[in-house]
Amino acid sequence: MKPFFALVKRDLTLGLRRKSQIYQPLVFQLLVVTMFPLGLGSGAKTLALIAPAVIWILALLASLLTLDQIFKNDYDDGSVESYVLTSYPLSSSVLAKVLAHWLLSGLPLVVFAPVIAVLLHLPSHSYGVLMLSLLIGTPIFSFIGSIGSALTMSLKHGGLLLTVLVMPLLAPVLIFGAGAVVESSLGNSANTHILLLSGMLVLCITLVPFAAAAAIKINLE
């Protein structure tokens, strides 16, 4: 088996075994969504108004919760050596790690989005755009997060530093993602937003593996 697939397979096995990585972000989302009406009190009618923003911010936060683990786990137990001390290109291994992370934590968010949307009274004709935008946006979270995770993996409390590092980078994703949903909920076309998101994703796929690989190497020195 090629190292790439071996790495993806290992990470998927780990994720499915830990389970928590998959279902707990979802529960987290649900919980926070519940908090909103609780906190809003009589202002509950505004829910639909803020639904796109809340859904996207929640997806971002739920991703953030698992991002720091992309490389940190491997660093902590020493298994990062298995792909650093080898002639197989590190950037490919980074790609494998990102892919596994998205499958485990991004994809469930996409699939689960309609439930959150119902709870927040999002108009049902926007569900398609919501899921599409998340489908393009969540991999970007994983990509950008992998750089942050590579930079902070040797820190004991890197989780919050990572948040601070990647949040500004992810702001545009949030703007266009939530923007797409807002437009579609108003009955307008969301094409421009989706296009821009896709562009960002392509950029990430081509650049991030090398950036993250460099970050890992710097971190280990």
């Binding site: 001390l85 080898t86 002639s87 197989y88 291994s93 020195e221």
Partner: protein, 209 residues
């Protein structure tokens, strides 16, 4: 003819050098024991040799090439096991062994892996999660990789730690076999007289003053 030559290498931690620069040369079949007091820099030196971190001075040549100019070749030929074992808590012993090697591009079948685990004294633990092993069992699981790899150069940081008497003997025998097959060994160990007698050379690191 030595294929690894280190000239005046030294390492740094924080802002100061750790030990007086050292020289050594290793031919196939030779072994080197790094020793010295606690904190003199053995682990740091081993990690640098393995390719993890940079030297503060000096060079290592491998087959006439400076190591930094040809890291891929070095990675293909050398195999490192450090303090951290690299086991995944949530994978079983079998999965740990197989996935670690496959990620390094080494093919291994399940029966081979089962056999390796047996040799290392983990028969019956194939499906136990690595997080539920005792200290010595964890070390054994990491060392099981040595049975499967074909790399001519082994770099081991305190591999005897936590092993019981039988485990130490097994490890000594496999190290012997490795050097007899023209392998090279770079190792650290405290307080183990037998390994001291077996290695070709012992290099005592001395702290800088």
């Amino acid at each position: 003819m030595p294929i690894i030559k280190a000239s005046d290498i030294s390492c740094q931690r924080g802002n100061y050098s750790l030990f007086k620069p050292v020289n050594f040369a290793l031919s196939p079949g030779q072994s080197l024991l790094l020793s010295g007091k606690n904190g003199v820099g053995k682990t740091t030196l081993l990690e640098s040799i393995a390719g993890f971190r940079a030297f503060s001075s000096g060079y290592i040549f491998y087959k006439e090439n400076e190591l930094n100019t040809n890291k891929d070749k070095w990675f293909d030929d050398s195999f490192f096991i450090g303090h951290k074992t690299g086991n995944k808590k949530e994978l079983s012993c079998l999965e740990n062994l197989i996935s670690f090697l496959q990620i390094q591009g080494i093919e291994i079948t399940e029966p081979q892996a089962v056999e390796a685990l047996e040799k290392v004294g983990l028969a019956g633990f194939e499906y136990q999660m690595a997080g539920k092993l005792s200290a010595g069992q964890k070390k054994r699981l990491a060392l099981a990789r040595l049975i499967m790899v074909k790399h001519p150069i082994w770099i081991l940081d305190e591999p005897f730690v936590n092993l019981d008497v039988a485990g130490c003997q097994w490890l000594l025998s496999i190290l012997d076999k490795h050097t007899q097959k023209n392998g090279i060994l770079i190792i650290t160990a405290h307080d183990n007289k037998i390994i001291r007698e077996k290695v070709t050379r012992e290099l005592v690191l001395e702290a800088c003053d």
